[in-house]
Every structure is written in C-alpha cells, then in structure tokens.
C-alpha cells in the first residue's frame, strides 16, 4: 500500500460515496461505524480499507442502532466520528440521533437516500428522507443538513459537515441522493493546507470549575471528553448544566430544549449556503437541492433561450431551512418552481415562507432524476400563469 495519506491531493475520477469517505478522512474523521446498505455501502467499504491506513478506527456494527450509538461513544472518547446509511438504516438511527442532539455530541451522519417507504427501491435514488432528517427522532430539535449535487460536493460538503458538527456540537447530516452517491465524476482534492478543518471547543478551566453543559455566548458549551480528567456525566434525560438528570423542573426542560434549538437557529447565517444562478431579473425562480438542481440548471438555461426570465436558487444547506433567502426571493419573483425526488417535502417549507407567491411543485419518484425538459415545462407553465 503506497497511499497512507489522509488527503489524496490531486485530480481523480471518483464515485460520490468514495468522495464522501475521502472528505471525511480529510476532515479528520478517526472513527467510522456502519452497517452495509445499498446505496451507501461503498462509503463503509472505503472506510474499512482507509481508516486503518490513517490511524483511524473502523468497525462494522450489528445494525444501524448500534452504529449510531457507537459514533456517539467514539465522539465522547474524543474522535471525530461518522456513520453512513440509507433510508431503512436511517430509520433505525433516529433513536440515537435524538441522543446525540440531547447530549450535544458532534457527529456526522450520511444518508444516501433511496426510494422508500420501507425497503422500497434499494438501488434507486430519491429525496424522500428530507423531512425525516429534520423531524425523525422524537421531540423538538434543530439539526444541520447539507445536500450535495456533485461528486466534488460529496467531498467538500462532508468536510463542511464535520466542521459544523464540531462547531455546534450537533449531529450534522450529509443528505445525498443515491444518484449522486453512485455518480462517478471528477474530484479535485486540494492540499491538506488548503482544507479548512474545525476542532471542537475544549474547556479552559480546571475540572473542579468545569460545568459541562454551561453554554458560552454562542450557546455552545465547551466539550471535555472521556479520559481527560473532567469526569463528565452524560445523559439522554433532561439535565441541568452539570449534566445531572432534572426531570421534574419545567424550567430546566424549557431552557435546555430551547437552547438546543437556538444554538442552530441563531447561527443560521453562518450555516446556510446557497448557490444563485440568474436570479437578478428572474420572473420564475426554481428552488432545488441535490441532483434535481442540476436538471434545473439546464432547464433554466433552456428557459432563458426561450425568452423566459428564469433563475435558480440551489439550497446547499437544507436544514436549517434558508427562510430568509427564500422569502427575499419570493418578494421579487412571480412564481416559484420546486422539483423534488419525492411527493412534496421541501416544497412545504417553500410554501410556508413564500406566502402569496404561487409555488409549482414537480414530483419525480422511481429513481430517475427529473429531465431538464420536465422542469422546463413547469417553468413555462409557471411563467404563463
């Protein structure tokens, strides 16, 4: 083996799943736990081969419940940790995703979405888990989810996921569709120095002064890990700033749960990424994420050729939802088009924010992304209406 490098600087033809694994390694991931599932297995396989080369830890667990639990444990043992799965496994992970939220555990969960419900379409891509990603575990919480639309972004955004997870101490999701996961495309991997990585905030006070869940101004508490001498107690129960269960005081529940939400909401300007194309004078705006945004880009170009003033807002951050950006847009366009590979998920958020502006939804399920002509047709209809 000649490649014991953490960053495979250079130009490659890479599969989306593999680029995701390489992004994780470049971000400093040192622990991966997973369970094989199409179409995310290639990530697990790549990590099985690569983790040991970069002094990291790979373990194949007995199921996705265990995988999610293991990365939480590993994160508290000090490692940057990740798991990867698809719909059925993602459902099993929901329980411990809630635990990660409640215990403010930095970790990255990759969901290469496939057709659903249930076992659904194992080999076909979809975007049917977007709402589950936001609401799948019980209770109120906020998470961060990024939606790559290319193999390059499978690499870049996985790094970004780690950086957000470590910054905000929250489970962070790479929400990719199976099509992008299995796509082979060029990836340019920069040098290690050019890759920005974030390390988690550590306590600066001695153990006897440390209050494990007392937040700083950014609402994020510094994190002492196991074995560092701070003797932290961590629980999924509602807890006070010391980390001790407090289950009969409504004020504690109120403060904790609101802070867990607010630490994401209040920092949303730093988290939200979008890509804008020809929106300045647009009458019709397409709002898309993931692979349909590429069909949309092509459709917008066709619309412009046909004399329709169309533009594209691509959501790179799906959660927290880019409300401000969508609201602003809705104030100056006549219509919005939302194509999704599901029966209507993010479109609900768009409708909620866009208020009066008509929203045209284009659903596509079954595996194939929308063709540009399908989206062009909806743009044409929206422009006429």
């Amino acid at each position: 083996m000649t490649m014991h490098r953490e960053v495979l600087t250079g130009k490659h033809l890479m599969q989306g799943d593999i680029a995701c694994a390489e992004g994780a390694i470049a971000a400093g991931c040192k622990f991966f736990a997973g369970y094989p599932i199409t179409p995310a297995t290639e990530i697990t396989e790549r990590m099985a081969r690569r983790m040991i080369e970069v002094d990291g830890m790979f373990v194949q667990m007995e199921d996705e419940l265990a995988s999610m639990a293991a990365i939480i444990g590993a994160s508290w043992a000090g490692a940057k940790a990740m798991t990867a799965t698809s719909g059925p496994g993602f459902s099993l992970m929901q329980e411990n995703i809630g635990l990660a939220v409640m215990t403010e555990t930095p970790c990255v969960v990759v969901n290469i979405m496939r057709g659903a419900p249930s076992t659904g379409l194992p080999t076909e891509g979809a975007q049917q888990d977007v709402m589950q990603c936001k609401w799948g575990s019980h209770g109120d919480y906020e998470i961060i989810a990024l939606a790559p639309a290319s193999v390059q972004e499978m690499f870049d955004l996985t790094i970004e996921c780690f950086n957000f997870a470590e910054t905000y101490r929250a489970p962070t999701f790479l929400l990719a569709d199976g099509f992008t996961g299995h796509l082979w495309e060029r990836v340019v991997i920069p040098s290690r120095e050019e890759i920005k990585t974030v390390e988690r905030k550590k306590p600066i006070v001695p153990a006897d002064k440390y209050v494990p869940f007392k937040p700083d101004e950014d609402l994020v508490p510094p994190m002492a890990c196991f074995g560092e001498g701070y003797r932290v107690h961590v629980t999924g129960l509602t807890h006070d700033e010391l980390g001790y269960p407090k289950t009969t005081d409504p004020k504690i529940q109120h403060e904790l749960v609101n802070r867990l939400c607010e630490k994401i909401r209040k920092n949303s300007d730093k988290i939200i990424r979008t890509y804008k194309f020809m929106l300045e004078d647009a009458d019709v705006a397409v709002i898309a994420y993931g692979i349909p945004s590429r069909s949309s880009l092509n459709a917008v170009k066709r619309a412009r050729e046909a004399g329709i003033k169309a533009g594209l807002l691509r959501l790179i951050t799906v959660w927290p939802f880019p409300e401000k950006q969508v609201e602003e847009l809705s104030n100056h366009v006549k219509a919005i088009v939302v194509p999704e590979m599901n029966c209507g998920q993010v479109v609900r958020e768009v409708e909620r924010v866009a208020k009066e502006t008509p929203v045209h939804f284009s659903s596509k399920i079954g595996g194939e992304p929308h063709s540009p002509s399908e989206i062009f047709e909806v743009i044409r209809r929206a422009a006429k209406a």
Binding site: M57, A74, G78, F226, G229
Partner: protein, 278 residues
C-alpha cells in the same frame, strides 16, 4: 452533622457523586449493593478514576452511571454496550464498565450484547437481574421465570426465560460469573477479576426487587429474599453454564467461564502493524 457531611466521611465516598444522593432505589433493592461492590472493587484495585468510563442503559440500575464519580454515560434504552463499543475502540486506554438491567441488556439490547461478546470487545458488563422491568412498574422481561406474575403477565408468565450465563458463554464471553446480592465479597472479587482481565466479561447479579416483583409474587421482604438466597444458592465454579439453573429450589452461582482469547483491540493492533509495514 448533615447527612452529606456524614457521607463524606465514608472511605468510599470519593468514588461517588455525593450531591446526587439520596439515590432513587427502593429499600431492599439489590442495585445499591452492586454499586457498593463496584466501588469497593475500584478501591481495592486502585483504578485510575480519570480513565474509567461507566456506561448504563435505562431502568432502575441505569441511574448508577450518574452516581459514580468518573466519566459516565446514561444512554438510550438497550444501547449501552453499542455506545461503550464506540468509546473503547476510539480510546483503547479507557477502562469500560457497562452496568445495566436484564431488560435493557437482554431484551431491547440483546443483539448488542451477543455481538459485543462475539467481537470480544474489552469491557466488563454487569447485569442486575431482578426478573422484571421495575422502573416502569413491573412488567415481565426476558428473565422473568415461568408462571410469575407481573403487570403484563396478570395470569402468569408463559414465556421461557433466558439463562444469561449460558447466553453470555455461548456468545463468546471470556469471563462469565453469577452471584446474588447476598454474595457481596464474592461479587466484589468477581468484579475485580473482570476489570483486570482483557476481553468481554460478564457478571450476572441476581437482585431482589421487593417493592415491585417481590410484592406481586409474594416473596416477602428483601431480608426474606436474602435468606432464601442463602438457603438455595449453590456455589459451583467451572460448572457448565448451560446447566446453571435458576429455579425456586436452587440457584447455581459461581465463576463458570474464565478463558483467554484475543480481544478485538489486540487483533486490530496486529493488523495495524502489518499494514503499517507495507
């Protein structure tokens, strides 16, 4: 002198988060005895409390993680072993003890138990077996004896219980022992042995639940249960765990398994060195 001040004088007080006391357990519950034996073992061994992690699940005994003054994780129901696997593999220098109940470890978490044992991940698992789900008010679980009454077996239990030591041995545990809450010294010695041994170690502790399980099955007070343990327990070291029964007439206790087998961590380290050489 306040109660807390009195507590502080106890030689084992430094191992506990005293501000968390009084604990939540009922009078006569075996969980306090398990806590006692565990910290006594820590004290005897001079364990570095900065490198010990106690992981527990959900249930009465699950609260134990919050009472011991070390890094500790009170996880979701059934998942302590899976979570502990992540901790141990990410930082092999830590000593891991999972302390949880029969329902947590063997019903909802049964799959994690057998696979961690199979992998031979380095951790000590202590199960407080009180034959029912005490915290939720006494429902039957994977170890509830046939014909027993619980809130969900109002006409008597018709499910065959697991023999936990047999299960642990079959799944690959390198150390398997069973004691009751009566066997304080032997249990402490067992915990010490397990903490010093490498691999997946399992100790079952038969634990009285006088308020919930005991009451419904007319087992009398905790002291009566303890007396019964003294009458019916038979110490059989090296006994075949498959035959180590728990019945009304007899409870076989002892150290059943004590073998050597490469741990997950050791095999991984070997592989790591080979790959680094390439």
């Amino acid at each position: 002198m306040t109660v807390l001040q009195e507590f502080e004088k106890h030689p084992l007080a430094k191992y506990l988060r005293l501000e968390r006391f009084p604990h939540i357990w009922c009078e006569g519950c075996g969980d306090g005895i398990i806590l006692n034996c565990f910290v006594k073992a820590l004290d005897d061994l001079g364990i570095n409390m900065d490198k010990l992690v106690v992981v527990s699940g959900i249930g009465c005994i699950g609260r134990i993680a919050g009472y011991i003054k070390c890094d500790s994780f009170h996880t979701t129901h059934g998942r302590p072993i899976a979570l502990a696997t992540g901790i141990k593999l990410a930082n092999p220098k830590l000593t891991i003890a999972v302390i949880s109940g029969d329902g947590d470890l063997f019903a909802i978490g049964g799959n994690h138990f057998i696979h961690a044992a199979r992998r031979n991940v380095d951790m000590t698992v202590i199960c407080s077996n009180n034959f029912n789900y005490g915290m939720t008010g006494g429902q039957f679980g994977p170890t509830t004896p046939l014909d027993s009454y619980t809130t969900t077996t109002p006409y008597g239990n018709i499910e065959h219980p697991f023999n936990l030591v047999h299960l642990a041995a079959a799944a690959g545990a390198v150390y398997v022992a069973r004691w009751t809450a009566l066997h304080v010294k032997r249990l402490t010695e067992s915990i010490k042995k397990a903490l010093q041994k490498k691999g997946f170690k399992f100790i079952e502790v038969i634990s009285p639940c006088p308020e919930i399980y005991g009451r419904r099955n007319k087992l009398g007070k905790a002291i009566d249960t303890m007396k019964r343990y003294r009458q019916i327990c038979e110490i059989r070291h090296g006994y075949d765990p498959a035959k180590a029964e728990i019945t009304i007439e007899k409870i076989i206790v002892g150290e059943f398994i004590d073998i050597e087998k490469p741990t997950y961590g050791e095999l991984l380290q070997k592989q790591f060195l080979t790959i680094q050489k390439r």
